[in-house]
Structure formats: structure tokens, C-alpha cells
């Protein structure tokens, strides 16, 4: 009997000990807060245009890219060409990027067609291609993130249709002709305007440099005094128009439809130079571009096209909170 009691007590003690040790281990070492792995999941490179230039639009796109890469723990190196029209420069940058062999390339194409060969080269070595703001003429990109430019052009057409008086003439100041955004917006506008020949009398392609745009606009107005409506298709051209009208003192005489927004353009909207401002969402563009790239790289479902939208803002509705959010990027 004694042996039994001995064994029994020994077993009890063992049991209690093991329970206690397991409990104290588990209850005293709580699960450590999961350390966010320092190594990024993927390597992405973004090659934009008007990189760190004077156009706010691209600065904000870059902010979106950076923000998303932090959220998703990927490394996103952003480079680009200084001017929106430096096609060769961008091709070179892409070639360099291919050497680095990133997982994906996000490209804001300076030219709709000329970028295709180098992008194909990149795709051949297994790099995923995503286009941002400006697309390329190819099926290679898995996804395009940007505004529905054609629709924007169409909306400009509707605006003009409503607002134009009999006999009023419109001049369109476009940026680089072969840029996707220019192509699409022009198409959307020109294909949907009634009485095209009578209405839109001039279309000039001046590039995105606002100085050049200003000079070209002044020239245009001097040559065509009948023009009562100016349409700027992007930030650079819109700014050029505003500078031109400011210099000529014609801000109240000529109506302006502008695209994109920056603090400078807002000022012109406030003072009445710009009558209608089509504002895109560059932050979302940059952000969703990275987000969707991560989806593609990690094999999750993704969309082929993400429309970041555009909103028509006037002096009257610019006070609305939603519009303020678009016009004025939130900084603390």
C-alpha cells in the first residue's frame, strides 16, 4: 500500500509541476507584438515624368506612391525625367531599371507608342509592367491606373456645348501630342463636340512647360483675337494659359477650362481666371498603382484598369469639403 501511495504522490507532484511550468510559460510570455518584417516584400520602381519638377501633380503622385509603399511594406524607388516630353530620357531610365531587375515597373509614359519596345524588353525578363496616368499602346501592362481621360474630354465637350454662345471660338492648348493623356482627352473632346470645325478652331501642342505654353498662348491670342474660350489639357498648359491672360490682362474677357490642380491654379480659380477646373486625383493614382502592383505580385485578384476619377470644380463649389480635399492635399 505504501508503494502505491508513494507512486501516487510522485505522479501528483509531477503533474502539478508540469501544469505550473506550462502555465507560467504561457501566461508570462505574451505573444510578442508582431514585428513588421523589415525586409520589404517586393521591389518596385516607378519611372514618372516631370519628376520633382514644377508641376504639383507629379509631386502628389509621388507622395501617393511613397505612402502606399510604406503601407504595404514594399520598396518603391521613384525616378523620372524632368520634363514631360523627354522620351529618350525615359527610355534610358527604363533600360537602367531593367538592369536592376525589380519585381515590377510603374511607368507614366511620356509617349504612347515609343515606349512600347523598351517595355516589351522589360516584360521579357519577367518584370511586371503597370502604367500610371499615361498608358502605352500595348497589352503588356497588367494594369492602368489613371483618370478616364476620354471621358474627361467628353465632359469638357459637354461643358462647352452648354456654355458656348453662338459664334464663340475655342482654342485647345494641349501638351505633348503623343502623350496618352493628350491623345485621349483631345479625342474625347473633339469627337463629342457638335459643330467641331466652327467651334474648335485651333489646337496647338505646346508640351508641358508652362513658360512655353504661355508664350504660345499669347501668340495664339494675338493671331486669333476671336477666340473667347481657352482649354488647357493639363497642368502645364493650364498654367501657361493663366500666365498669358494675366500678362495680357484678359482674364475677365476670356473663359478658361483647365485640367489638374495646384496651388497656383487654385489661385487663378479664385480670382476668376479659370472658370472650370477639372481636378484629378494624383494621390490616389500613385497609391493605387502600388497597391494594385502588390496584388499582382502576390497573386491576388486585381483589376486591369483603375479609374481614379475627375471632378469639375468651380469657384462656387470649391468650398465644399469634398472638393477642398481634392484641391488641397492634406498636410499637417
Amino acid at each position: 500500500m505504501k508503494k502505491f501511495i508513494l507512486k501516487y504522490v510522485a505522479l501528483l507532484v509531477l503533474f502539478a509541476l508540469s501544469f505550473y511550468s506550462v502555465s507560467s510559460y504561457y501566461l508570462n510570455t505574451p505573444p510578442s507584438l508582431q514585428q513588421v518584417s523589415q525586409t520589404p516584400q517586393y521591389e518596385i520602381q516607378a519611372i514618372v515624368k516631370s519628376y520633382r519638377g514644377s508641376l504639383d501633380f507629379w509631386l502628389i503622385v509621388e507622395q501617393g506612391l511613397v505612402n502606399a509603399s510604406q503601407e504595404y511594406n514594399v520598396s518603391c524607388k521613384v525616378t523620372g525625367v524632368r520634363s514631360e516630353d523627354d522620351i529618350q530620357g525615359q527610355i534610358q531610365l527604363i533600360e537602367q531599371a531593367i538592369e536592376d531587375k525589380p519585381d515590377a515597373l510603374i511607368i507614366a509614359a511620356t509617349d504612347y507608342e515609343q515606349l512600347v519596345p523598351v517595355c516589351e524588353k522589360a516584360a521579357d525578363v519577367g518584370i511586371q509592367i503597370i502604367t500610371l496616368d499615361s498608358d502605352i499602346d500595348s497589352t503588356i501592362p497588367d494594369c492602368f491606373v489613371g483618370t478616364d481621360n476620354y471621358r474627361m474630354g467628353k465632359e469638357i465637350a459637354f461643358l462647352l456645348e452648354e456654355d458656348l454662345q453662338e459664334g464663340e471660338q475655342v482654342a485647345v492648348i494641349s501638351h505633348y501630342a503623343q502623350a496618352y493623356t493628350a491623345l485621349e482627352r483631345k479625342a474625347g473632346l473633339l469627337e463629342n463636340i457638335p459643330n467641331l470645325e466652327q467651334t474648335i478652331t485651333t489646337v496647338i501642342n505646346v508640351g508641358s512647360n508652362s513658360k512655353i505654353a504661355k508664350e504660345q498662348t499669347i501668340l495664339l491670342l494675338q493671331e486669333n483675337p476671336d477666340i473667347s474660350y481657352l482649354v488647357g489639357l493639363n497642368e502645364g498648359t493650364s498654367l501657361g494659359i493663366c500666365y498669358a491672360l494675366e500678362e495680357l490682362g484678359l482674364k475677365d474677357q476670356i473663359k478658361v477650362i483647365a485640367c489638374d490642380s495646384s496651388e497656383k491654379l487654385v489661385k487663378y480659380l479664385e480670382n476668376g481666371t479659370i472658370d472650370y477646373l477639372f481636378v484629378q486625383n494624383p494621390f490616389s493614382m500613385g497609391y493605387f498603382a502600388v497597391e494594385e502592383t502588390v496584388n499582382i505580385l502576390s497573386g491576388k485578384p486585381f483589376s486591369n484598369k483603375i479609374d481614379t476619377g475627375s471632378v469639375l470644380i468651380t469657384k462656387d463649389n470649391m468650398r465644399l469639403l469634398e472638393n477642398q480635399k481634392l484641391l488641397f492635399p492634406f498636410t499637417k
Binding site: V22, S23, P31, L33, G272
Partner: protein, 622 residues
């Protein structure tokens, strides 16, 4: 283990029944205990673990929610106090003498152009007022701007180095309109871009109030203080929910004031469906969203009407959950293992003594009556063993007494027989006496009668079952004398009993039946009769008495049948019988003593009686 036993009694099914019975194979108690015990422990531990775990999860969730609710309250309290603070700063500005003087001046002027004198006055008043505002503005770093706006459109900034934006359309702004309409109250306007200052477009929260003339209490203008998000952000970020969620602020119209990811929220990348979760008419403070695994909590401020919303991520408790599950599983595992060990220990403690008892019983079943079961414990099994031991003892006793009884019975039978005298001998002897007497042979009559008396004396004596050889020698002499009287020349005898052997004890009536047998079967059938020689000798420790006759002898068959069972019938003719003599000797002394026969047909028979020869060997009949 129940099985349905079919009631179909056809031969086929009957064999099925046997099969079923065979299924109830031997199932050790030990195994049963272990099995049932383990199942019980396992179920108990599982149930307890599950309950405990669920309870813990619920508790954790509830704690998380309670904590978040507390944090929300804290946030609101702090923001309220902050806003109240700001409001009082606003009051300070609005009540300031310099500010009011400036406003009065501007209102009296009604926006008209100024004379040189007035311009100077205006400059002085402006300087005073703006300096006051500047001082106030410097008390807090988050104040980006303080401005005064007269009823006629004059805008005075606290920072005189900055330009007024001529296109600000302030008169359409909420902060301006509401200040005017609320007159005596301070208005808080959340999240908007202040465009009063040229070239500056900052996101601010504005505190505005109508400026009232101290004497007339007319509205002279509007004061606005712009605050950046630094403080609010500081308050909200200080309450960190870690991985478990986040807190954001909305105003009474569900517009976002603060969000940890404000940039994303403002660009539409991140969206909060506050209005759907907490509709205006809802009084719910807590809304769980099952699909997303989150719980939304809110706390409304009485001061501002703003709502602090807490989003608790219950899914993140999963890392806790998995940890907990792991913990409970391990505990359960340990419990099951130990329960198995305990079960084995306990059951063996019960079955071991049972097995020992079983072994003892089997041993007894096979005939071992000396077996005693070991008594280990003073419990039911111990009692059983004890009782078993008593039983074995009892059986052994009974058996021994049975045997003893049989023996006793037999012996008394024999003893009884022993006491008998062969009646035939008696009749014959009496007849002999009669014709001897009738023939006048008086001496022979005396001889025979004396001899007979002597014989009676010996055989009828009770008590002593042993007599000495001397007495038996006398007996046999008497007997033979009597027989000689009858048979005359047909019988002759010779006795040889050494003196030293005469004191040996021998049982009663050993010789007489043998001699009787020799006379009737040996000599009587022979026409010429014969001679009987009786000799007593000591051989080592045995007493050998030989009765030899030269009568007709016996065949081998007869010889064999003498001592066998069948010779019972001879008892009638011979009284005690040879067999009985042999039996008695063997009962008393053992099987190595008794009668031995040698015989040859036509030659004679020799009977040897083997008895123990030591005088000290009492050989009592037990």
C-alpha cells in the same frame, strides 16, 4: 458493450449467438478502469478547456472594448477641454479693448475711404489689435492665424506681414456665417481649408465668434482663430490601440476631423462608413461588424457634437487566440497523459491483489489445499482473501476429519468384528465336548473346556486391543488343542515361540483366523490331514510369525482372491476372515506390515505375518 441478440433460434442463428457471446471476450477490470477513467478525464478537460477558452476570449474582447471605450472617453474629454480652452482664448480676443476699438472704428467708417488722419488712427488701432492677437497667437503653437473681419469687409490678420487673399469668399464660409448667426456663442468649425491668407491654403479647425460692441451689443464683426491639427493629433495619437485598432474623429455631420491615416482618408483611398454604422438617429454606442471582424465604438462630445470613433479589431485577437488555443491544447494534452498514468496506477492497485487472489483460488481448484492468499490491503479484497483463506482451512479440516471418520468407522467395524468368535468353531467345539462327554472322556472334556474358556477370556476381553505374543501363543495352543480333539490324527501341530519374543505386543486374534484357515482349507480337504507349524522370529525390527501347513495348498487364483475384495464372502464361513486380519494389521501399523501368502498346490501353504517387532512400538489404533 451491448449487442442485439437475435431471438431467431434456427441453427444458423444459434451459432451466431455463440459468436456474439464470444465477442464478450475477457475484458480485464484494469482495462475498463483505464478506459473509462481516461474518457472521463478527457471529456472533462475538453469541456473545461473549451468553456475556459471561450470565456477568456470573451473576457479579452470585452476588456478590449471597455478599454477602447475608456480611451474614447478620454480622447473626447481632452478634446473638449482643449476646445473649451480655445474658446476662452477666443473670448479673450473678442473682449479685448484694442480689438473692439478697431472694430468700432471700422464700422463707423463703413468702408469709406479714409482721410489722412483716419488712416493714421487706423494704423495705430490696427497695430494695437494685431499685436494683441499676435501675443495671444504665440501662446499656443498650433494657432496658425487670428483674423478680424469687419462688417464692411476689412480683414485684419494677426500676422501683419502676410497678405489678405482678396478672393477668399469668406462671407460664404460656414465659420463666418455661423458666427454671425450665433452672435453670443463661439462656433467651432472643423476640418476646412482657410483661404483668408494669400498664398496659404492650410487645413485648420476654426474658432469664430461675432464681435459685439461692448455698449450697444451690435455686431461689429467676426473674429476667427485657426488651429492646425497638431494638438488634436497629439491627443488622438497618444491613445494608441496598437495592433488592436485605431481611433478617429468626425464632426456632427460625419465629416472627418482626424484620422490616423488622414492623407489616405482625404484622398478617398481609405473610407470610413461612419454614417451607415452610426446613423443620426441611432443611440448605439457599440456596433459589431461580423464580416470584417471589427467592432465600432463611439463616444460623442457634448461640447462640440463631435464623435470619437474607436475601431476594435477583434481579428487581431486571433494572434492571442492561437496562442490561447495552443496553451489550452497543451494543458489538455498534459491532463490526458497524466490521467492515463493515474488510471494505470489506480487500476493496477485494484487488480493486482485481485489477481493474486485469483491465482490462489486457481491453485486451490487444482487441489492445493495448503494455499493461503496474501492479504495486502485492509479492504474488500483483503476481506475476500481472508475469507478465502478461512474457507481453504475449513475445507482442509473437513476433509481430514472425513478421512479420519472413515478410518475410525472402518476400525470400529473391524474392532466389532474382531470381537466376534467364529460361531462354527463354537458349535463344533461344543459338539466335540458333547460326544466326548457322552463317551465318558472326562479328561478330554476338561481339557477342551479349559482351552475354550481360555479362548473366550482372550477374545471377549474388551479394552485391550493388544495382547502379548505370550498370550496369543497360549490362545493358539488352546485353539489347536481343541481342534486336535476334533480332528485327531488328521491334525498335528508344532509351536515355536522364543522366550524373548513373548513380551512383544500384537493385536488380538491375528493367529487364530489364519490357523483356522489353514485347518479348513489346507488340512481338512486332505485325507491324511497334515501338520501345522507356527514359528515366531525377529527379523531386524520386524516380528515374523510363520504358519506353515502341509495341506492341499492353493492355486494361484485362490491365492490372489484371498486378499481381494471378493473375499468378503468368506467372512461368513470364517468369521473374521483373512482379509480382515490383513486390514487390521495395516490400519494399525501401516502398509508395510500384514499377511503374505506362499502356496503350492498339493504341497502346502505358508502364511507369513509381518508385525513391527519393537516392544516400544505401541501401534495404538488411532
Amino acid at each position: 458493450m451491448r449487442k442485439k441478440i437475435s431471438h431467431d433460434t434456427s441453427p444458423a442463428s444459434q451459432s451466431n449467438n455463440f459468436k456474439i457471446l464470444n465477442f464478450f471476450r475477457y475484458n480485464s477490470i484494469g482495462t475498463s478502469i483505464i478506459l473509462y477513467f481516461m474518457v472521463l478525464i478527457f471529456i472533462m478537460v475538453s469541456v473545461l478547456s473549451i468553456i475556459s477558452y471561450q470565456n477568456t476570449i470573451q473576457e479579452t474582447e470585452q476588456i478590449s472594448i471597455d478599454y477602447t471605450a475608456q480611451l474614447l472617453n478620454q480622447v473626447n474629454t481632452q478634446i473638449d477641454s482643449y476646445i473649451e480652452n480655445m474658446k476662452s482664448i477666443g473670448i479673450v480676443v473678442v473682449n479685448n479693448r484694442d480689438v473692439n476699438q478697431l472694430m468700432s472704428f471700422l464700422n463707423k467708417n463703413k468702408g469709406a475711404p479714409l482721410s489722412e488722419f483716419d488712416t493714421l488712427t487706423l494704423e495705430q488701432l490696427t497695430a494695437a489689435a494685431s499685436s494683441h492677437m499676435d501675443v495671444v497667437g504665440n501662446t499656443r503653437s498650433e494657432i496658425t492665424n487670428i483674423a478680424l473681419i469687419s462688417r464692411y469687409g476689412d480683414v485684419i490678420l494677426s500676422d501683419q506681414s502676410k497678405q489678405v487673399n482678396p478672393y477668399s469668399d469668406y462671407n460664404l464660409s460656414d465659420w463666418y456665417l455661423q458666427a454671425l448667426s450665433y452672435k453670443n456663442e463661439i462656433v467651432v468649425s472643423p476640418s476646412h481649408v482657410q483661404r483668408l491668407i494669400a498664398g496659404e491654403y492650410q487645413w485648420v479647425i476654426s474658432i469664430s465668434k461675432a464681435i459685439l460692441d461692448p455698449s450697444t451689443l451690435e455686431v461689429t464683426g467676426v473674429m476667427v482663430i485657426d488651429l492646425n491639427y497638431r494638438v488634436i493629433e497629439g491627443i488622438c495619437e497618444a491613445v494608441n490601440l496598437g495592433n488592436n485598432g485605431y481611433i478617429y474623429l468626425v464632426d456632427s455631420r460625419y465629416n472627418l476631423i482626424y484620422h490616423p491615416k488622414q492623407r489616405l482618408a482625404f484622398s478617398g483611398v481609405v473610407q470610413e462608413n461612419t454614417k451607415t454604422i452610426f446613423p443620426p438617429d441611432s443611440s448605439l454606442q457599440q456596433v459589431p461588424l461580423e464580416q470584417e471582424g471589427t467592432i465600432y465604438l463611439r463616444n460623442s462630445s457634448g461640447v462640440t457634437g463631435w464623435m470619437a470613433i474607436g475601431v476594435v479589431n477583434t481579428q487581431d485577437l486571433i494572434s492571442n487566440r492561437n496562442y490561447l488555443i495552443e496553451f489550452y491544447l497543451i494543458l489538455a494534452g498534459i491532463a490526458v497523459i497524466f490521467s492515463a498514468l493515474f488510471a494505470v496506477l489506480i487500476s493496477s492497485n485494484i487488480t493486482r491483489p485481485l489477481k493474486k487472489l485469483e491465482t490462489s483460488m486457481l491453485s486451490m481448484e487444482q487441489g492445493n489445499l495448503l494455499v493461503q492468499a496474501e492479504i495486502e490491503q485492509n479492504n474488500e479484497i483483503g476481506q475476500l482473501s481472508n475469507t478465502f483463506n478461512h474457507m481453504v482451512l475449513r475445507i482442509r479440516q473437513l476433509m481430514e476429519s472425513e478421512v479420519a471418520k472413515e478410518e475410525e468407522k472402518r476400525k470400529s467395524e473391524l474392532r466389532a468384528l474382531q470381537a466376534q468368535i467364529n460361531p462354527h468353531f463354537l458349535y463344533n467345539t461344543l459338539e466335540t465336548i458333547i460326544w466326548m462327554s457322552a463317551g465318558g472322556k472326562t479328561e478330554e472334556v476338561v481339557q477342551v473346556t479349559s482351552a475354550l474358556a481360555q479362548l473366550f477370556r482372550t477374545s471377549l476381553s474388551q479394552g485391550e486391543s493388544d495382547i502379548t505374543l505370550a498370550v496369543e501363543a497360549e490362545n493358539i495352543e488352546s485353539y489347536l488343542t481343541i481342534q486336535k480333539m476334533r480332528y485327531k490324527d488328521k491334525l498335528s501341530f508344532q509351536l515355536d515361540f522364543p522366550e524373548e519374543l513373548k513380551k512383544y505386543p500384537i493385536p488380538k486374534l491375528i493367529l487364530q483366523p489364519v490357523v483356522e484357515n489353514a485347518i479348513y482349507h489346507g488340512l481338512k480337504p486332505s485325507p491324511q490331514g497334515g501338520k501345522i507349524e507356527i514359528t515366531a522370529r525377529q527379523n531386524q525390527d520386524k516380528l515374523i510369525i510363520t504358519i506353515k501347513d502341509n495341506g492341499v495348498g492353493m492355486s494361484t487364483q485362490t491365492l490372489q482372491s484371498l486378499l481381494s475384495e471378493n473375499s468378503e464372502s468368506k467372512m461368513d464361513s470364517h468369521g473374521i476372515g483373512i482379509k480382515n486380519v490383513n486390514e487390521r494389521i495395516q490400519l494399525i501399523y501401516g502398509s508395510e506390515y500384514g499377511l503374505h501368502f506362499e502356496s503350492t498346490l498339493g504341497i502346502g501353504t505358508t502364511v507369513t505375518i509381518v508385525l513391527p517387532g519393537e516392544p516400544e512400538n505401541e501401534g495404538e489404533i488411532k
